[in-house]
């Protein structure tokens, strides 16, 4: 009850609900940990992730190499820590890029409607008709391999998902009385979209992008596995899986640990995203 006296803003309310979800908090802790690893991982690397000795290749997990060594004798733990930076970068940058473009397209389509809506959304439908990974592979084939190109490919293929969500949300908000009121007091179109509509659809966008980070990381891993994404020797998790798959029967730890890293990261973002959805959903408001 004492909380009701405190100032209550939508953001503070959402945090209050989010704190009570154990799984979301677990996800958040893992995400924070991953960010710390990405930023400061270089300081705690037990071994050099790129130089190994051939004499030490295919070593199972031991005190010296907690996760063993790979076919070139490189320490797998060090490579996974180094790969955190790459995976998070791919996940976040590609989601941000897709989000910005998708939001602009979706909001424009919904706000102006009619022909504008028709043209933008039919184009999005065309992109959605091609399987994501196939389209990404086609783009990678055109652009050539590399981490930046993987980011471009992944963000491009996910634009329609954001455009669709934003369009749906904007459509539901733009007919409300407060938007009519905003227009009546002299707001220009862009200001109505930016200041009145988008803040009211932000929760759906935030939830979708949190979940989108995990699928972008998965896509990047898949591209890496196929040899199209990040190129060796860079320690991207999917690339590590791809080059380790030849030895899966003799030295399973080569693929198990990068696989686990992907799984845990994706799981963390999904848990956090689900918690966010519950916290930001106005219907599920717990006081």
């Amino acid at each position: 009850m004492s909380d009701s006296i405190k100032k209550s803003s939508p953001a503070a309310d959402a945090w209050h609900v989010l704190k009570q979800s154990k799984s979301a908090m677990l996800g958040l802790i893992i995400i924070v940990f991953l960010f710390l690893l990405a930023l400061g991982g270089k300081l705690i690397l037990p071994h050099d992730p790129y130089i190994g000795s051939m004499a030490e290749n295919f070593q199972p997990p031991s005190a010296a190499h907690w996760m063993g060594t790979d076919e070139l004798g490189r320490d797998i733990l060090s490579r996974i820590i180094d790969g955190t930076r790459i995976s998070l970068r791919v996940g976040i940058v590609s989601v941000l890029a897709a989000l910005v473009v998708g939001t602009a397209l979706g909001a424009t389509a919904a706000y102006y409607g009619k022909r504008v809506d028709m043209i933008i959304m039919r184009f999005m439908d065309m992109m959605l008709a091609i399987p994501d990974i196939l389209l990404a592979i086609a783009i990678m084939a055109a652009l050539g391999p590399g981490i930046d190109k993987a980011i471009i490919a992944i963000s491009f293929v996910t634009i329609p998902q954001y455009a669709r969500i934003v369009r749906g949300c904007v459509l539901s908000v733009k007919e409300s009385d407060y938007i009519a009121a905003a227009r009546l007091v002299g707001n220009k179109d862009w200001r109505i979209i930016a200041r009145h509509i988008l803040p009211n659809v932000a929760s759906a966008i935030i939830v979708r992008s949190t979940l989108g980070i995990s699928s972008a990381i998965l896509d990047a891993a898949a591209l890496g596995f196929l040899g199209l994404g990040v190129q060796p020797p860079y320690a991207e998790w999917g690339t590590m899986l791809g080059s380790g798959r030849l030895y899966i029967f003799n030295a399973p730890y080569i693929v198990v640990f990068p696989g686990l890293a992907i799984t845990i990261t994706v799981l963390a973002f999904n848990l956090f995203g689900d918690g966010l959805r519950d916290a930001l959903d106005p219907k599920g408001k717990i006081r």
Binding site: S8, P10, Y178, L184, V185, D189, R191, A202
Partner: protein
């Protein structure tokens, strides 16, 4: 009411909404929300619009404010034709015409504090220098009876009546001369209704405002209006000064007046009960809209539309079988 130049004039305004289209895009089902309506509102006057739900009262208000564009007809504001304006011209009218919404729960942006809601109109129109906006917002809140410390709060922290006051303050923020009040009290408790109605009356006197006041209850309308128009299915049936309403001419107005509860159990009153439901406003036939339910209907009623006739000074009604005023 002294005779003054009309501030708002509406001339044979019509608006219909297409509900269904055939495959070729031809409308097959059309709802005539507002059908050939004319009236004018003098400066400083409160013009009441009453009618059942769905009779087109709100549509008229929204047409005047440019939220819809009319199919035909003309709207004049201060002598200037504002029927079809581009966005820029429409924006320039925001310091003249404002709107108070019916539902105080959906008319405030849930993500904006009271301060943001009230300061935005002033800031984007550059009415005041930044340093003076704070004082102005405090004054607006004071006008509508809210404390100035509430301005950092979000709409969900207020009651319905308080929210409606914020909506009124927003309408006042730009110092308009004319406000369309779209059933501003119908979503509120009866105890709060009186407060908000008195507030609107006080503000009118203080700022010299002109209102179009839309409501579905005659008692609410009579409280505030100088002149009242009674609407039925997109048509105005009767227009009368407030006093003239107690002497209704059109049978529909008679039925409506007889439905007002009188707080006196001993007083006998004749209740006119209408049979049947409100007919569908979709694709109406010729003739008087009310003919199918009217107790005084004659055969000619369903053949052609009755024209408006003046029975007393300023008291117009459209009916073939109206008893002459006594």
């Amino acid at each position: 009411m002294p005779e003054l130049a009309p501030l708002v004039q509406v001339k044979s305004l019509s608006k219909s909404f297409v509900l269904e289209r055939s495959w070729g895009g031809k409308p097959t089902s059309v709802l005539k929300a507002v059908d050939n309506i004319s009236f004018s509102v003098a400066k400083g006057e409160v013009f009441g619009l009453v009618g059942e739900s769905g009779c087109g009262k709100t549509t008229i208000g929204k047409l005047i404010c440019g939220m819809f564009s009319p199919d035909s007809g003309q709207i004049l504001y201060d002598g200037r034709d504002i029927t079809h304006l581009n966005q820029k011209e429409r924006r320039s009218l925001c310091t003249e015409i404002q709107f108070i919404f019916q539902d105080p729960y959906s008319s405030l942006n849930p993500r904006m504090t009271v301060w943001q809601t009230l300061s935005e109109p002033i800031a984007i129109n550059g009415l005041l220098p930044k340093s003076e906006i704070g004082k102005r917002v405090d004054k607006l809140l004071d006008c509508v009876g809210l404390a100035s410390y509430t301005k950092s709060r979000y709409p969900h922290e207020f009651s319905g009546g308080q929210r409606q006051r914020i909506g009124i303050a927003r309408a006042l923020a730009l110092n308009p001369k004319f406000i369309v009040c779209d059933e501003p009290v119908s979503a509120l408790d009866v105890s709060i209704q009186a407060q908000v109605l008195n507030l609107l009356a006080d503000l009118k006197d203080e700022f010299g405002l002109t209102y179009i006041f839309i409501a579905h209850g005659l008692n609410v309308i009579k409280h505030l209006s100088d002149r009242v128009a009674v609407m039925y299915l997109g048509k105005i049936m009767e227009t009368a000064p407030k006093e003239g309403l107690s002497n209704p001419i059109n049978p529909y107005t008679k039925a409506l007046m007889s439905a007002i509860p009188i707080p006196d159990p001993n007083r006998k009153r004749e209740r006119i009960l209408l049979s049947g439901d409100v007919p569908s406003p979709i694709n109406p036939g010729p003739g008087c809209r009310f003919a199918s339910r009217c107790f005084a209907a004659s055969p000619e009623c369903s053949l052609s539309e009755p024209p408006a006739q003046e029975y007393e000074k300023g008291h117009f009604a459209s009916c073939f079988n109206a008893a002459p005023a006594n």
